[in-house]
Symmetry: C2
Subunit: 380 residues, 2 copies
């Protein structure tokens, strides 16, 4: 715990927001910070949860514990969210594993790695932890790491579409990652929490790549697909074909972790998840995704009009905006001070994020439009 | 993971139940096994969750992420259940901590300790893991350990009312535990998931003991209080006064774990939890608890009439039935074969449980009565 360098990123940003509100009590702060869904759930989804909850007060509708895994004897483990599953996977791996991560990346991978004891201390100059292989992703390599320069590790965390850069790995890139894992005897932990936002035909699951079932675990979530950030539902796929080097299937150990350290996702959330996957529900869910994608377009245009390079926003609900030569916390502070808009400083996602800020496309349309106006006026 | 001796207890029992049903397809199996609530939720609780879910489909009722801790800046961390919090606490402690547990005890403490790497191998003869201090509790010491013979450990897991024995530590006993932790510089993790079942005036929270806030974390749950086994809600208290030996407050680290490895309990479950604590809700919840207590009385009488010694059942929804000289899995099998009743073999809770079975008082009254009849007739 002592090795952890900073507070967890998002609570830290909330604290800065609170300070700002204290300083400017009359300012209308717009948050383009934490990636949190803002639009109401489809009626059919909310109704299914309400009906399930009602049923719990009846003798026929009452249910107690469910299977810890959601349903038994499948490769899909239903959970309360991707972040929680990442820490359960880290429990599975333990302290003796070496890991690789994209840089920049959502901080939960690195932080959970530090907590479980896989890393050494942080190197002050580089901002990197010892014993983590950082796979640098930026404009210089079109946000895909040079695997020929990447050291072999036991575990490769790979998030696509990437949070924060918004880059979705192409078919050819994802094939490279799978081949790299095969050659090195590594396990990929593939995070596809934003797959539903992919518009350019890139693969939405690593299992679309032949051979991936033998090398990859996939973690995903209803949070950003279906607006379930407060409802809590996700899943992790551990294929039966995925073996340790001793031929022992990984699924058995993950099953043991889930049974010992978890007691299943809320049954009410699971009812909502099923409704989201119904024909009517999924259609409604996708129209919400389209709404956030339109937000992303508006914001992309805004930053372009300011002469800034903004990446992402096409296959993901995040924009990754470049401020060459800057320090991202300074940019964060300047934007907040000038426009009362919360963003996320890129360095919160790793050393390679130092010159960037992440901007979320989750938000009410009127707020996105007002944020666009403020940015255009005040940052020009 | 390889050190873990058995499958997790309850899935193993489910598997045996499935085998039994295959063998006797027409038998009506009654489960007095896993401690799972069976009675419908109070209307007021279900309604509050249904209303919350409905609201999520409206612009004013929609909510995304909540605080990871439930509410900020308190010592109470709202969670998805006690078992999940125990594994998060183990993440906090890490592999270099020594632990003590009651023997017998709910298996999640020991299993999570093995997973995080605190233990050595299991000793075949004793059935005990190396590096765990087992605090033996049985009829010979009135189910309270002899602390004068207990070695100092960093962490003391203490569950009261105890699952499986049903013993609630008295005021004097709990004072002993707190004093022991104070003298040794240990942290107590106190599990009070069954506190609401206490009828004999024993303390319901360790914080009723003066000085406990400086040495104890308390983990608890709505599961057995309010029938939330499938809804998922619990909490953990980490007092601000609780410090590491270097003077650093434990609460900061646990807060960091919760923010990094968890994303909050489902908001719908939290709405239900609040309703359970309302005046009307709590009254209804307590009448459910009373219902299960009456079940326990019926079962206690049954075992007494068979000439068996049954402990617990007064301060807890579990009976701990002694079969001197037996092996608990044999007893489990014999009862299942003769009466089609599922129990839990005591050895699943540790070596000291070898001659016992645990019987749950959770169940529909008609099933409890039928189980009582079958036991009386067939075990006589």
């Amino acid at each position: 715990m002592e090795r952890l360098q900073y507070n967890y990123l998002f609570p830290e940003i909330s604290a800065r927001e609170a300070q700002h509100v204290k300083k400017y009590p009359n300012a209308k702060v717009i948050s383009l910070g934490i990636g949190d869904t803002t639009e109401p759930l489809p009626d059919v989804v909310a109704l299914s949860m309400a009906n399930y909850a009602h049923g719990l007060a009846t003798p026929t509708g009452y249910r107690g514990y469910g299977a810890e895994q959601g349903s038994k004897d499948t490769e899909v483990f239903v959970s309360d969210g991707a972040q929680c599953d990442i820490s359960r996977l880290q429990l599975l791996f333990g302290s003796n594993m070496s890991i690789a991560v994209q840089d920049p990346i959502f901080p939960a991978y690195i932080d959970s790695s530090v907590i479980i004891g896989q890393t050494g201390d942080v190197e002050t100059e580089s901002g990197r932890y010892q014993n983590i292989e950082y796979m640098k992703c930026g404009p210089q390599n079109s946000f895909f790491p040079d695997l020929s320069k990447t050291a072999r590790t036991d575990i490769i965390f790979f998030c696509s579409p990437n949070n924060p850069t918004g880059h979705a790995a192409s078919w050819e890139q994802l094939e490279q990652v799978v081949r790299f894992a095969q050659e090195n005897g590594s396990i990929i932990v593939y995070d596809s929490a934003y797959a539903v936002y992919i518009t350019d035909g890139s693969p939405r699951s690593i299992y679309e790549i032949p051979g991936a079932k033998k090398v990859a675990i996939e973690v995903s979530s209803f949070s950003k697909i279906a607006g379930f950030t407060g409802v809590r539902l996700g899943w992790t796929v551990v294929p039966k074909e995925l073996m340790y080097s001793n031929g022992f299937p990984v699924i058995n150990d993950f099953n043991r972790i889930v049974c010992t350290c978890f007691n299943g996702a809320s049954r009410i959330a699971q009812a909502g998840g099923l409704a989201s996957l119904s024909k009517e529900g999924f259609k409604a869910v996708i129209s919400l995704v389209d709404y956030y994608k339109e937000n992303a377009e508006i914001l992309l245009e805004t930053f372009k009009s300011l002469g800034l390079r903004a990446y992402g926003g096409v296959n993901a609900p995040y924009l990754w905006v470049h401020f060459p030569g800057s320090n991202s916390w300074d940019v964060f502070n300047e934007i907040l001070e000038k426009t009362h808009i919360i963003t996320v400083p890129g360095s919160g996602f790793g050393p390679a994020g130092k010159e960037f800020i992440r901007v979320t496309a989750f938000g009410h349309r009127e707020n996105i439009l007002e944020a666009s106006d403020r940015l255009t006026t005040l940052l020009k």
